[in-house]
């Protein structure tokens, strides 16, 4: 029987899963780009990013170039957690398949 407790509940939520997926594709993402790609409200996105940051999955960098800009990226812990989460999802899907 599969142990469902292995699923990382912080990542499993749909909004946060979207954020983690996008962050896994590039080194950094700006807030505006994340918002545009995920079609989330500012409040929602901020809340999810804060949750992921508190869990140690997401790093936040604040820079002042022409104007203040905040960029987000995956931490090493976050990348490992995302990779493990994917492995668990694959195991769940494969567990339900009839044996070859």
């Amino acid at each position: 029987m599969f142990d469902f407790e292995k699923l990382d509940k912080t990542i499993h939520e749909k909004g946060r899963l979207g954020i983690m997926t996008l962050l896994a594709t590039r080194p950094t993402w700006s807030f505006q780009d994340l918002k545009a790609e995920l079609k989330m409200s500012d409040g929602n996105l901020v809340t999810h990013l804060r949750t992921l940051h508190d869990a140690g999955h997401v790093s936040i960098t604040k820079e002042v170039l022409d104007r203040p800009q905040t960029t987000y990226g995956l931490t090493v812990k976050g990348r490992t957690a995302f990779s493990e989460y994917l492995t668990v999802l694959e195991q769940i899907v494969n567990a339900g398949k009839p044996p070859q």
Binding site: L17, G18, T21, R26, D33, A36, E37, E90, I92, A95
Partner: protein, 233 residues
């Protein structure tokens, strides 16, 4: 009677829960994997050249190459000039670039996505250095050796497309490789002493037509959006 049934009811509920939960978790896992796949594709793949834009550009380039070649061979009486060569090709570049951006904007609107998406920004950042360098180098050589200008444009257009290879669909990478090989081949021909002195403008038009014309038509044919059988209108 009721009290007797309660244990059975509890037993059935538990049994049902054990049957249903794995199934719903599995569905959820499949759904989440679908979300991840689709987001990753959206975020990492950007098609900078639309198929209709490529077709318009390819047909325009072929037409200009045929007309320019005919003028260079003296078919219309008046002699071929470099300003005329530049005017035709830069004119086509402007028209096709505007048309391509309009088509990309239409596609983005249809998908309810911003026109200047993160993908477009990445593509522009990757491609602009090669495109600008190619444009300027080509212009610098155009009055002395237009055939070299054509080879530079072909080569650096290919380099620009390959610069976007990490987040472009495979077809763009193949288009980049084709231009890169063609540009390198043209320079190899020049390096090994092929003489184009008799008609540099004819050579330049031919090189432009065979690459910017033919390659884009082939790209458009291979990437044209096809309706899936049985799909809704």
């Amino acid at each position: 009677m009721l009290a007797k049934n309660i244990p059975n009811f509890v037993l059935q509920s538990k049994a049902l829960r054990h049957k249903v939960r794995p199934m719903s978790i599995r569905n959820e896992a499949e759904e989440n994997l679908r979300i991840i796949r689709s987001l990753m594709e959206k975020a990492t793949v950007y098609r900078a050249i639309s198929a209709p834009g490529a077709l318009a550009g390819g047909l325009g380039a072929t037409a200009i190459a045929i007309y320019g070649g005919a003028v260079a061979q003296g078919r219309f009486g008046s002699p071929a000039t470099v300003p005329q060569f530049l005017g035709m090709w830069i004119g086509l570049l402007v028209v096709v670039t505007v048309a391509n951006f309009m088509l990309l904007a239409r596609d983005a609107a249809r998908r309810s996505e911003p026109f200047v998406s993160p993908g477009m920004k990445l593509a522009l950042r990757a491609m602009l250095p090669g495109l600008l360098a190619g444009g300027m180098l080509g212009l610098a050589f155009s009055f002395t050796a237009p055939q070299i200008s054509a080879a530079i444009w072909v080569l650096l257009y290919g380099v620009s497309l390959l610069a976007a290879a990490h987040f472009a669909p495979k077809s763009i990478c193949w288009l980049g490789r084709a231009f890169f090989l063609a540009g390198t081949g043209l320079f190899a021909l020049f390096a090994f002493g092929a003489s184009w002195e008799s008609s540099p403008l004819l050579t330049a038009h031919a090189a432009m037509g065979l690459t910017f014309g033919l390659f884009h038509i082939v790209y458009a044919a291979l990437t044209w959006p096809r309706r899936r059988p049985g799909a809704d209108n």
